[in-house]
């Protein structure tokens, strides 16, 4: 029997009833952004989708984009993003986010349109859509959460799975000979003509989270300034499918992911820093 949709609908956090009024002489220096709803998320403990949502919401607030923002949700653990961001949303079929976003942006060029996609969604089934949208230079921003697995479906191998990484579909570890090398999307996207900004950042530490927000801001700005396509790859943890604690997962990002997926800006039209040129 199909589950009752109401029984799986997200619960509003009772947390909102907590008094956040500062005491005399105090200031509240960290609060939830308004664009992030207080709904509790279905994400596992330590999952970086929550961190990525918060950074996006903070920027929507700071750049005053909330009223004109439309997120194109994708298929993966972030499929319920429309429950978590307090903005308009369109859900795209698996991998088709950039195509749906192209339609939305061309129909409503006055809107701020971004996709939010996982690595299975963007780099596997949706490889054609992301490549062509980027190459056409659509005025879109892309938030790409690379956690090296298909999180939602139980941890199968993704195009980004590291060599030697064990998943349910490569239980002996990904093999270079058989499955090829993990795909570095930020570099590939940077090589395409219509791209204004492409960067890779990480969500494993406070320092990297701050840098991630800066990169996302640039990827949003190139759209609001009408310059071109903005892309940010966020190295993210999936503690559940990595069979790790959240603390171990953050360490894995540092010791295994970053060495293979280097952090940095691979293209920014503002500075014309294009790798290899």
């Amino acid at each position: 029997m199909a589950p009752d949709i109401d029984s799986i609908a997200p619960t509003e956090a009772v947390a909102d009833s907590i008094d956040l009024t500062p005491m005399p002489g105090e200031t509240l220096v960290f609060d939830k952004p308004e664009s992030l709803r207080s709904t509790l998320t279905h994400y596992c403990p330590g999952c970086h989708h929550g961190t990525a949502h918060r950074l996006v919401a903070e920027l929507l607030d700071e750049m005053q984009l909330r009223e004109k923002a439309i997120v194109i949700g994708s298929i993966g653990c972030s499929v319920f993003i429309y429950n978590y961001l307090d903005i308009d949303a369109v859900e795209a079929p698996h991998g088709r986010g950039p195509a749906a976003a192209t339609g939305v942006k061309r129909a409503r060029p006055d809107k701020f349109v971004f996709t939010y996609q996982g690595d299975g969604d963007l780099a596997s089934i949706g490889m054609a859509e992301i490549m062509h949208a980027a190459n056409r230079g659509e005025r879109l921003s892309v938030v790409f959460v690379n956690n090296t697995v298909y999180g939602m479906t139980g941890g199968q191998m993704a195009p980004t799975t590291l060599i030697g990484q064990k998943t349910t579909t490569c239980p002996g570890g990904r093999c270079l000979e058989r499955e090829g090398a993990p795909i570095r999307m930020a570099e590939i996207i940077a090589s395409l003509g219509g791209v204004a900004y492409s960067a890779r950042v990480s969500l494993d530490s406070v320092k990297n989270i701050r840098a991630a927000k800066k990169a996302l801001r640039r990827a949003f700005e190139v759209q609001t300034e009408g310059v071109g396509f903005g892309f940010v790859e966020l190295l993210s943890g999936c503690p559940t499918n990595w069979r790790m604690t959240p603390v171990q997962a953050n360490n894995r990002i540092r010791t295994e992911m970053i060495p293979y997926f280097p952090l940095g800006v691979f293209k920014d039209v503002a500075t014309l820093n294009t790798e290899g040129e």
Binding site: V29, T51, I209
Partner: protein
């Protein structure tokens, strides 16, 4: 002079905040919230520096940070 507030119902007990707190004052409480997780707590709040690292790393937006001016009166 500073303090943190945990929204216990949001906390998932991931312990990322506890691991990175520079003064190591965050620990798991015995309380289980509606989501089924053991929320974290701070027992020695006077040691909090108000650095907000815990709030920045928290994937679930469960932490609020208050800072007061140094030497500020009651």
């Amino acid at each position: 002079m500073s303090r943190v507030l945990f929204l216990e119902e949001r906390c998932k007990g991931c312990m990322l905040c506890a691991e990175l707190c520079p003064v190591k004052i965050i620990s798991q409480s015995p309380r289980i919230n509606r989501q089924g997780y053991k929320a974290v707590e701070v027992l020695e709040m006077d040691k909090c520096t108000g650095c907000a690292s815990c709030a920045l790393i928290c994937p679930d937006c469960a932490i609020r940070v208050f800072r007061s001016k140094k030497g500020g009166g009651e």
